[in-house]
């Protein structure tokens, strides 16, 4: 009734068990569903919170020296350059010569007061006194408005140019990076985007690596491993475990990608249909119906990056780097698991595995600012850090051969380490009562015993 199975068939059976038992767990389902909901919820929350709950800012400008204002008929003051202060829903100005007390500001509905005097022409600094701090955007608008108004004053008083002529001379240089090979734009702002991916990579490698370790410890401490090894080669068991758990990781990545896509699309539809969208378009000074969800996201400094992601490249390369990086670190985690009988004993053995991971994370964070630095490039080739470091570089455009070489190096290293780990694993997994010494581990690695049949 039984037919001996080939090594591949046995491996596939092990993979199936590792995969199915984990995917069926309630914790996996919860994490897989909750992850995207939290993420989309966060984005939606950011959009709604920053937009709708924002109070309009009403500013009292106390222009002591009359730099920017002229008296008007009714004892009021009007700006000398009305066009400098475009009409906005979220920001309005009132001008005067004197400061107002806190109570007065409060009573008249002002949220803050800007004090200007002669000194500003030299210092270029003014005081913003607020009852409630204005939003970052309102503050940036104010800074831009006052700069323009003061510039006009300076041009008028200190040169014989008119303002239009001055603007014609004024020069701001912006450098736009352009890849000569691909013709793509590059910018450091995309580094932050890549960094977000590298954090995900670190998280996945760590979480699923720990899964491997826990799986090995379970088999060892439950003493089930001896029964399994009477049918399965240790190397096949190890390879099956790493592959099965890796598939669980890929399933989660895929599920998150799909769920996120669905939820974002749904969120977009809901937002576009909502009344909130109408009022938002109005505050932005846009014609109703011209803006969609992407416009909303683009208007958010914190979220605009979502539109910049080349999802195909990031997910595709990310999956490959995850598989290889996870296999490499998974081999380490498995070896640690084989050496201990309970999880608590594994703690201090984890340090040598956590260090390179944490160091790569540190390197990746350095690469955000200078993605083309030698450090960033080298660390995206070194197999221990490449899965994490390359994720930072990817969004900025990387020559294809960099990616290919880095993947190849990683693949070779991973294969080598899984092989070495299997040597330690197959001896350590059957050892109870004592933890192998470093010398023993070295001996098993360099001079393997005859091992299984």
């Amino acid at each position: 009734m039984t037919q001996p199975k080939s090594a591949i068939q046995i491996w596939a059976t092990v993979v199936r068990r590792e995969y199915v038992t984990r995917v069926r767990r309630r914790a996996f389902l919860v994490a897989t569903l909750l992850g995207p909901i939290l993420m989309v919820g966060l984005v939606a929350g950011l959009v709604l919170l920053t937009q709708s709950t924002e109070e309009p800012t009403k500013v009292w400008v106390a222009d002591h020296a009359g730099l920017l204002t002229a008296p008007a008929e009714s004892g009021q003051f009007i700006p000398t350059c009305p066009t400098c202060y475009p009409e906005r829903n979220m920001l309005t100005y009132r001008f005067g010569r004197d400061v107002k007390s806190r109570e007065e500001l409060e009573a008249e509905g002002f949220s803050c007061m800007v004090e200007l005097d002669d000194g500003i022409l030299q210092s270029e600094k003014a005081q913003l006194l607020h009852l409630a701090p204005p939003s970052g955007k309102a503050k940036r608008w104010m800074e831009r408005d006052f700069s323009q108004a003061l510039e006009r004053v300076k041009v008028r008083e200190q040169s014989d140019l008119d303002y239009e002529a001055y603007l014609g001379l004024k020069t701001d240089v912006t450098l736009v990076g352009l890849d000569m090979a691909t013709g793509e734009r590059k910018g450091a702002e995309r580094g932050a985007l890549g960094f977000a991916f590298s954090i995900f990579m670190l998280m996945f490698v760590l979480i699923y690596g720990m899964h491997v370790m826990r799986g090995v410890i379970e088999e060892k401490s439950n003493r089930i491993v001896e029964v399994v090894l009477s049918t399965v080669r240790p190397s096949t068991l190890l390879a099956g475990k790493i592959a099965g758990i890796g598939l669980v990781g890929l399933t989660q990545i895929l599920a998150w990608a799909v769920l996120n896509w669905i939820l974002f699309t749904a969120l977009g539809l809901v937002v576009e249909q909502s009344e909130w969208m109408e009022s938002w378009t109005a505050t932005q000074g846009m014609t109703a119906g011209t803006a969609d969800f992407a416009t909303v996201l683009a208007a958010q400094d914190e979220l605009a990056f979502l539109l910049d992601i080349q999802w195909g490249v990031m997910l595709g390369c990310g999956a490959v780097y995850f598989v290889l990086g996870y296999a490499m670190y998974g081999a380490f985690f498995a070896t640690i698991g084989a050496m201990v009988e309970q999880e608590s004993d594994a703690q201090y053995l984890l340090l040598p595995v956590m260090l390179p991971l944490m160091f790569s994370y540190f390197l990746a964070s350095l690469s955000i600012e200078s993605p083309e630095s030698t450090l960033a490039i080298v660390s995206s080739f070194v197999p221990f850090s490449s899965p994490i470091s390359m994720m930072v570089r990817l969004p900025m455009g990387v020559p294809w051969w960099h990616v290919a070489l880095s993947m190849a190096l990683l693949a070779v290293t991973a294969a080598l380490l899984v092989g070495l780990a299997a040597r330690v694993y197959r001896v350590a997994i059957l050892m109870y009562g004592k933890r192998p010494s470093f010398k023993e581990i070295l001996r098993w690695t360099l001079r393997p015993d005859q091992g299984a049949l």
Partner: protein, 316 residues
């Protein structure tokens, strides 16, 4: 002579400086129940791990069913190690089916067989239960099923009854005997429970410090270990009898029963060791000339006594 299921010649295994198994020659014939005995650390587990393909011998010849040992032969065996467990996160039936498919069984066949086993071992209703809910005895029964489900020709059981109450132990024992009787399964049983060795094993192999110190049919082994020892009850003058016995045989122990009125009336229980060539009939015809022999039986050693005696005499 039929081809033995298991045949070893000069098989040995060391771990570093520790010799786990000195060159071992052993044989197990088809359809027999063979007890593998020995104190802890005698090399039993090492031998079983070689047979089950977990390790390889350093040297020597290991043949299974007449062939050099090979991985494809592993599916013809079922192994229940002493240290055993189950995956806590799996359901009972899933777990057993996993092992059956690993050993090359088709899943529908395995499911059908499993239903029968669940009935025979009285664990119906546990099919979809979590392993974590199983009692220890229950888990042992499930492990036994996982070992035999794929109908192995050679069943290797290491302490199969540990953790089982007498009723469940009986259930498992009957199933083992049924497999041997109905399917011609060969059973290699490693245990410290000498009672079950006496009750079950046709043959024993006793290992000590990696060496085979005793092997043979259980009855023959027990008979040989007797070494001419007998127990007699006699009435008469003990002092005179012992003096007459002199160096003819060794007096191992003597005791006198209470309640006799005179010394000549007293009944004495003696244990004697008869030398080779002076058997029970010769001894009796000699003894009746001196005392009244009430009772004379060969001293039957329990397997436990055989074990202790053999191991002690093998320890310098």
């Amino acid at each position: 002579m039929p081809t033995p299921v298991l045949y070893t010649q000069g098989v040995c295994k060391s771990f570093g400086d520790h010799v786990a198994l000195a060159p071992l020659d052993a044989e197990v014939q088809t359809g027999r129940i063979v007890g593998l005995l020995g104190p802890n650390g005698a090399g039993k587990t090492t031998l079983l791990r070689m047979v089950t393909g977990i390790t390889k011998p350093d040297r020597g010849e290991l043949r299974m069913w007449g062939q050099p040992h090979h991985r494809d032969l592993l599916t013809r065996m079922g192994y229940l190690p002493e240290e055993r467990g189950l995956y806590k996160s799996m359901r009972v039936a899933e777990q057993v089916l996993y092992f059956a498919t690993l050993r090359g069984m088709a899943r529908p066949d395995a499911e059908r067989e499993l239903k029968g086993w669940f009935e025979r071992l009285e664990v119906e209703g546990w099919w979809n239960r979590e392993v974590a809910d199983l009692s220890k005895g229950m888990a042992q029964k499930i492990q036994f099923i996982a070992t035999v489900l794929h109908r192995p020709e050679l069943l290797i059981l290491d302490e199969p009854f540990s953790g089982l109450d007498p009723i469940n132990a009986g259930l498992v024992r009957n199933e083992m005997l049924r497999l041997v009787k109905d399917h011609g399964t060969t059973l290699l049983l490693s245990t410290h429970d000498m009672g079950s060795v006496e009750a079950l094993c046709d043959e024993v192999i006793l290992l000590h410090k990696g060496q085979k110190v005793l092997a043979g049919a259980t009855d023959a082994v027990r008979e040989d270990a007797r070494k001419g020892r007998i127990r007699v009850a006699v009435r008469g003058n003990l002092m005179a009898f012992v003096a007459e016995l002199g160096a003819r045989a060794e007096l191992l122990s003597k005791s006198t029963r209470d309640g006799a009125a005179t010394a000549a009336e007293a009944i004495h229980d003696l244990e004697l060791s008869l030398p080779e060539g002076w058997g029970m009939p010769e001894f009796l015809s000699w003894a009746v000339q001196h005392v009244q022999v009430l009772e004379a039986v060969p001293l039957r050693l329990s397997m436990e006594e055989v074990f202790v005696q053999t191991v002690e005499s093998a320890t310098p």
